[in-house]
């Protein structure tokens, strides 16, 4: 994998959040304030634009640039959270021109660590961590068991989607949904939903290249 993988991942995310924008808005309106879809689309459109002129940059740099762009354009909680996540992930790769599956796990693990640190959330709080953590764990386990990367990413995306669906019966303990107390139960978390889209986009980007 190389810089093109990152660019294609970001394009896949942009396409995906754009086509699911109304769905994300609808989920967010139920337990938040209804802007999640709009904010994610604005952010990833800006990321795709920012990466356009950077064909020669190493993949780690592209992730850092993508993260910085999200921080500067998204606002809300998702901006700093995904922004810091991608920057932390990018730093793992430094200036190396290519990377392997094992390093991809480390990129996503660093992203997860940064989200948990900034948002102080753990699995079960009804946040993006509920999708991201099982995805990282699954990718690590699958690769350790010598699964091919595309297969491992498929499993990781499924783990993220399972984690996303598992947020439905939970009561939110972080973010705006926590204000609702018990009334947040029965709704799928929008942050976990966009996170599942982002992991699925990674699987598509890597499979298409592979």
């Amino acid at each position: 994998m190389d810089a093109a993988t990152i660019t294609s991942w970001m394009r896949e995310i942009e396409t995906s959040v754009r086509s699911e924008r109304d769905y994300l808005v609808q989920l967010d309106a139920a337990i938040g304030d209804g802007d999640h879809g709009t904010n994610m689309v604005r952010g990833f459109e800006a990321v795709v634009q920012a990466l356009d002129g950077e064909a020669a940059a190493p993949p780690g740099r592209l992730l850092i640039l993508a993260g910085r762009t999200l921080v500067s354009t998204v606002g809300g909680a998702s901006g700093p959270l995904w922004g810091s996540a991608l920057r932390s992930g990018g730093r793992v790769l430094g200036d190396q021109p290519t990377f392997e599956g094992g390093q991809l796990v480390e990129v996503l693990a660093a992203a997860l660590a940064s989200v948990k640190d900034l948002g102080a959330a753990v699995v079960g709080d009804k946040t993006m961590v509920d999708a991201l953590e099982p995805a990282v764990d699954t990718l690590r386990t699958e690769l350790a068991a010598s699964a091919p990367l595309a297969t491992a990413l498929g499993e990781a995306a499924e783990a993220a989607e399972t984690g996303m669906r598992a947020t439905v019966p939970l009561q939110a303990r972080k973010g705006r949904a926590s204000y609702l107390g018990e009334r947040s139960i029965g709704h799928q978390d929008p942050g976990a939903t966009s996170t599942a889209l982002i992991i699925r986009a990674l699987q598509r980007a890597v499979s298409a290249a592979g």
Binding site: G75, G76, S178
Partner: protein, 339 residues
Amino acid sequence: MAVETKARKFLNNPADLVAESLAGLAAAHPDLLRYDAAAKIVVNKGAPKQGKVALISGGGSGHEPLHGGFVGIGMLDAACPGEVFTSPVPDQMLAATKAVDGGAGVVHIVKNYTGDVLNFKMAAEDAADDGIKVTSIVIDDDVAVQDSLYTAGRRGVGATVLAEKIAGAAAAGGADLATVSDTVKRVNERARSFGVALSSCIPPASGKPIFDLPEGQVELGIGIHGEPGRRRESLGSASDVVDVMVEAVLSDLKPAKGARLLAFVNGMGGTPLIELYLLYHEVDRKLRAAGLEPVRNLIGSYITSLEMAGASLTVLELDDELIRLWDAPVHTPALRWGI
């Protein structure tokens, strides 16, 4: 070109609403402020003032006149407006901090929402890297939210307006960074709020109400972003509703008998002044009946939620110093007295 206009809103392109509204604010008040469209910030005409502590606030738009309408003499030095109901980004707060720093430091007044707190935190770190002294004070006065390990903590609502006014007066009077920061903290610690809604607001981007509230129902404990409240009841008399608001606020604030209070009856955007004064009548009577003295008040729509019908009550326990700072001259688009 035909523009798809959402129901009952004056819009050109919904995406341009915030920028076009801020341009209008600047056109209306060129003596007080300017709008930097590139940095997306509203800046006090007199800033930076050498030696004066500067005050900045910001947050999602849709709460007008908060915060841009409070930029001016004796209140804010800059405001950072985000998209509707979305926190602004760190670049805005950093640009504002640099634009107003007069060497005495900058206070960030932050409403307690996960997004606002995270973005302001990143900006404060960047400003510190640039050698600017910044303190961040979080406002969390909404008693409708339980402050526990299981929530993001109380929301910042009505006390924000009072803190901006009172701390703005302290800064204008020459107080240093620690004192101005402490003044914001003191207002927050001594203020409590509770809001109710009779209708949802309609964010311009979606054009759809955030929650569905049938006629004859009242949503108790609402926030300012159209977040639904904690419970819903059938709407009784105004007196009944004020009973709930006063009880919620006082049971948490626990003011001493005879305490001097500022009572702030705030409209959420879709409730007319005639009803707000009716509510104030009830509030004033009930506070006095509880043995308290409402010696100052503020009535009007100052921290709104677009066109939501509803109101919030904020009670601030005053002392001589806070009364003096509240009475000090202020001249902003939305609040003006003494000058």
